[in-house]
Amino acid sequence: MTEEALKDLLYKIADDQLILGHRNSEWTGMGPLLEEDIAFSSMAQDKVGQSLAFYNLLHQLGEQDPDTVAFTRNAEQFHNCQLVELPSGEYDFSLIRHFLFDHAEFIRFQMLAECPIEEVAQVAKKLKGEVKYHVMHANTWVKQLSNANEEAHSKMQSALDYALPYALGIFEPSKYENDFIEAGIYAGEKAIETQWKENIHMVLEEAGLKLPDWDTLKPVYGGRYGKHTEYLQPLLSEMSEVFNEDPTADW
């Protein structure tokens, strides 16, 4: 497997985490209840911290330092799936996105923890515990809200229906899929997707939410190749507003 391929993998993981962490931090101080405000903020911080760990791995592979990489690229240079860049919306959508994304990430980290590249395996092993809590959090919330009353159930179902095609975009195949599988880096996107469908199905069933027939859904692809929604560039411009007043300055 080439270094090019490895970088592609690390970039998409890091970009997903950074953008989702950034989006979720928008709730800090404005959450639906105090304790959840705190918990959701911690998970947003975890995500940004995770992205930093992966940008550091990239830096070791010769890419620029994490601040430069995160704060100076344009939208088309980002490899995140479109799911994470969508506006935070209301809490139903933010929760469902967190549920769908973290289930996928947990499987990804379980696989990468066995990766033959020691540095990657170490990071994945360590971060897996964080994501385990994220999944516990997501499962509990999705089940509690969806089973609570008519209003919440219907909001959660609509949010799920809206998010699912984007969530499938998490698993957009890379041009290096076969290289990863052959080198034993991880089992590839298709394998994560299959496992993910099983895992979320179990929780959603308990939550009383309906999954559509997967064949009727058209995955929203493009993000992994730099094709994004209208929402990513404004997000990036906002994120780097201060940093770019003087990128050479020490802030």
């Binding site: 928008e26 404005m30 209840l33 105090l34 304790e35 959840e36 705190i38 918990a39 903020s41 911690s42 911080q45 975890d46 911290g49 506006p87 360590k126 971060l127 897996k128 515990g129 964080e130 385990k132 809590y133 516990m136 959090h137 509990t140 919330w141 509690q144 906002e238």
Partner: protein, 214 residues
């Protein structure tokens, strides 16, 4: 004039809050108030489980999710959290500092106690006013009253206690042990939450030196 509140915070501008947001706000329904759970945290293996505060939550699973980030998001380690509904805790009277609550507990307290079969009860003690309750250990008993009496026989020889909390084992949600150890394993890496990570004396020194030269 804009119809929306114009803020310096881009997050708020995205919410499109009406510029004239109701000057009177409806009073809320009381039911928004969730019940209270007491939270106990064990920071490391050789330290006692200690009361840290409360969370309001609709269920004990959610109480745990909240407790973890409110009471264990800092520190070098955490090995377990217990959450207990406040109403499940039986409380003894509180004495003055220097007195021992066990001196006030005698066998008669068990008279007329409602027996519910043998269970495990966990006992928390307060060592001093202003401090927090910490776990002493457990006793087996048929009622809260018997648990209190057994606690006296088990723990009274330790340091004096001003106040006791007693809880039935089955009323405790315990998140601890090997199954959960890894959810806290990045705590030492969260250096950005720690004052130690913000040293800048060198920078000030250098700045002052340059000022003097100039």
């Amino acid at each position: 004039m804009s119809d929306f509140l114009k803020s310096l915070d881009p997050r708020i501008n995205r919410l499109s809050i009406p510029a004239e947001f109701g000057s009177s706000f409806p009073e809320k329904d009381e039911k928004d108030q969730f019940i209270t759970y007491e939270v106990f945290v064990q920071p490391k293996e050789n330290k006692a489980m200690q009361h840290e505060g409360i969370v309001h939550a609709p269920t004990e699973e959610m109480a745990f999710l909240f407790a973890k980030e409110q009471f264990s998001r800092r520190g070098m380690s955490c090995v377990g959290i217990w959450v207990i509904k406040t109403t499940a805790i039986q409380v003894s009277p509180i004495t003055e500092n220097g007195e021992d609550i066990y001196d006030y507990i005698n066998k008669e307290i068990m008279e007329g106690a409602e027996e519910n079969g043998l269970s495990t009860y966990q006992v928390f003690q307060l060592a001093k006013r202003g401090k927090q309750h910490s776990l002493s250990g457990s006793v087996e008993a048929n009622s809260f009253e018997e648990a209190l009496w057994n606690a006296k026989n088990t723990f009274a020889d330790d340091k004096p206690a001003l106040n006791l909390w007693i809880v039935k084992e089955e009323d405790i949600l315990k998140i601890e042990g090997d199954e959960f150890a890894d959810i806290w394993n990045t705590l030492p890496d969260k250096k950005y939450r720690d004052a130690m990570d913000y040293k800048a004396t060198e920078k000030i020194k250098k700045f002052k030196e340059e000022q003097q030269k100039a």
